[in-house]
């Protein structure tokens, strides 16, 4: 469910639109922020806040790839392996990354629950290959060493927290 602070945040966003249904994606992003995925309770909370049926919000969650219903790692690592990136070695980069993290070649979530690794289609950065988004932040012109260092940094942040 949305907290009081989240309701206030949503009320600010609602001022942008003549129809509050337009705020469904922003509201779902707010609800998803804490855990990286949406529970049935979260979805009900958004449906109630915007006067939309739960079924319709469920359909929206199912339609858009950045909205998730399954538990994921704390950090979602999305590596682009679409054609322009694949031509510059992104598929091998992705396979090696999965291997070093002890994951199957198609990706998955590390045992410690820290990283969910996925291959995705075009991220609009085809001139900076290999690249990834980690929790929607761009990391470009990567190498094996660079992404390892980035993931190590996130691991340390997580242990400190």
């Amino acid at each position: 469910m949305l907290s009081e602070a989240e309701h206030q945040e949503l009320n600010e966003i609602l001022k942008k639109y003549p129809d509050k249904r337009s705020a469904v994606l922003p509201a779902l992003y707010i609800a998803q922020r804490a855990r990286n995925y949406l529970t049935d309770d979260d979805i009900r909370g958004v449906a109630e806040a915007l006067d939309i049926s739960v079924t319709e919000v469920q359909a929206i969650v199912g339609f858009y790839t950045l909205l998730r219903k399954d538990p994921t790692g704390k950090y979602i690592v999305q590596v682009c392996t679409d054609l322009p990136c694949a031509l510059r070695g992104a598929e091998e980069f992705y396979r090696r990354l999965c291997q070093r993290l002890g994951l199957p070649p198609q990706g998955g979530t590390t045992d410690d629950g820290l990283f969910t690794v996925e291959a995705v289609v075009c991220l609009a950065a085809c001139d900076k290959v290999p690249l990834a988004q980690i929790n929607l932040k761009y990391y470009e012109n990567l190498s094996d060493d660079r992404i390892d260092a980035i993931l190590d940094g996130l691991r340390r942040d997580s242990e400190d927290a």
Binding site: D19, S22, F63, L66, D82, P84, V121, D127, L136
Partner: protein
């Protein structure tokens, strides 16, 4: 090296820090808006954009000023929706504008709003642009503070607001009516056309939907005039265009060139050519959504002589689209390349119409078995047959375009397919 003395769109490459509003205004920024509000009637702004011949840069190439003139008089409110859902494989130009030269786009949106009498605009970005949109919101806040947006802009009676909105991962939302559905909080699935968004758009109101790059062209057109703009490009494809160059070139990146520049210049001068002295095998001029053009050793004539304007690329058998050029050298397995695009379209089909929903799955299935060694006799013709069944029967262009890589790769590289069936 460049065919332009200075950039018209990627001005940050000539003027450092132009993303800062003070730098932008010190270099002529918002002068076009000032000029329009003080010296021009709204229809004069539309007229100059029409006279300049600016064509939509999102892919369709439809004349922008003509699109604006479809907005009916007397129906309020009018909306502008800026398509920043940049998701075509190989396309990364709008992101560079938003990150590095956002005020020129913002000024272009405001000029469009003045021309069509709009009260509000929404910039719809793909969900993955969360980071770039933080900077865009800052730029919008700065523009409000300086009086270029909001109530009584520059002390005129023109008032106008711009809002940002992020999608959540769906290529189909780049289709303008699917984008409107998504912005209304629904599934991003395309609408029937007609009615077109100019009549019945966002919240059923008249709406202009334009691409980021299209609107970024507007301030220099209004400031310097149509004749100035037409010094660049060709008669039918005027102006400059950002070409996104990716794949097998030494220097991938965005390059702004006059329309009609030779492909040779883009690939060899800008991109540094195909690395390692390898031969150029094929080019996709508009990401995954246009037919493949074969390289000199695989097709007739020299593709590098191609002139990069809408008409010439079409005459060569493909489309300029959003001008996302994916370059492939002689080492590329074309069945693999086509299968990557088949996967893309299957992943992104919205599921609304059965030819696309079923067809893209079926196509990818056939590619799977071709590539894992279990290709059957007749599979190549089967792919062509599925393409024929989809062609003309899909609800929107996603499905229609999905057959382009299939057909064109078979047309030019059929031997590579047949080898997999026999092998």
């Amino acid at each position: 090296m460049s065919l332009l003395a200075e950039h018209v769109l990627l001005r940050h490459r000539d003027v450092p820090h132009i993303r800062d509003i003070n730098v932008y205004t010190n270099h002529g920024g918002y002068d076009a808006l000032r000029k329009a509000l003080s010296d021009m009637r709204p229809e004069e702004v539309t007229d100059v954009v029409k006279a300049a011949g600016l064509r939509g840069r999102g892919g369709a190439g439809f004349p922008a000023g003509v699109k604006w003139s479809f907005i009916p008089a007397g129906v309020k409110p009018v909306y502008i929706v800026v398509n920043a859902d940049e998701s075509e494989p190989g396309t990364f130009k709008d992101r560079e504008i938003i990150e590095a030269n956002p005020h020129q786009m913002i000024e272009g949106i405001a000029l469009c709003a003045y021309a069509v009498g709009a009260q509000a605009a929404y910039v719809y970005g793909r969900g993955e642009f969360k980071g770039p949109f933080v900077g865009l919101q800052q730029a919008l806040d700065d523009a409000y503070e300086k009086g270029f947006l909001g109530r009584n802009i520059l002390n005129s009676d023109f008032s106008f607001d711009i809002y940002t909105h992020l999608g959540a991962g769906a290529y189909i939302c780049g289709e303008e009516t699917a984008l409107l559905e998504s912005l209304e909080g629904k599934l991003g699935q395309p609408r029937n056309r007609p009615p077109f968004p100019a009549q019945v758009g966002l919240y059923n109101k008249p709406t202009v939907v334009n691409n980021v790059e299209t609107l970024t062209n507007v301030p220099p057109i209004v400031l310097h005039g149509a004749q100035w703009y037409r010094q660049f490009g060709t008669d039918k494809s005027p102006g400059t265009k950002i070409f996104c160059l990716s794949g097998h070139v030494a220097r991938p990146g965005n390059y702004e060139l006059p329309l009609g520049a030779p492909l040779r210049h883009l690939i060899e001068e800008c991109g540094g050519g195909v690395p390692g002295g390898r031969a150029l095998k094929a080019i996709l001029p508009a990401g995954a959504s246009a037919p493949i053009l074969p390289g000199p050793g695989w097709g007739t004539g020299d593709i590098l002589d191609l002139s990069l304007d809408y008409e010439s690329v079409q005459a060569a058998g493909s489309m300029l689209g959003s001008a996302s050029f994916i370059v492939m050298d002689e080492t590329v397995d074309m069945v693999w390349a086509a299968s990557k695009m088949a996967h893309f379209f299957k992943h992104e089909s919205c599921g609304k119409c059965s030819p696309c929903r079923e067809g893209t799955y079926w196509v990818e299935d056939v590619y799977h078995r071709l590539r894992d060694g279990s290709g059957r006799p007749g599979d190549v013709d089967l792919l062509l047959n599925i393409a024929d069944q989809m062609d003309g029967n899909c609800f929107c262009l996603l499905g229609e375009f999905s057959v382009c890589p299939v057909r064109s790769s078979i047309q030019h590289f059929r031997d590579e397919y047949e080898a997999l069936v026999k092998g």
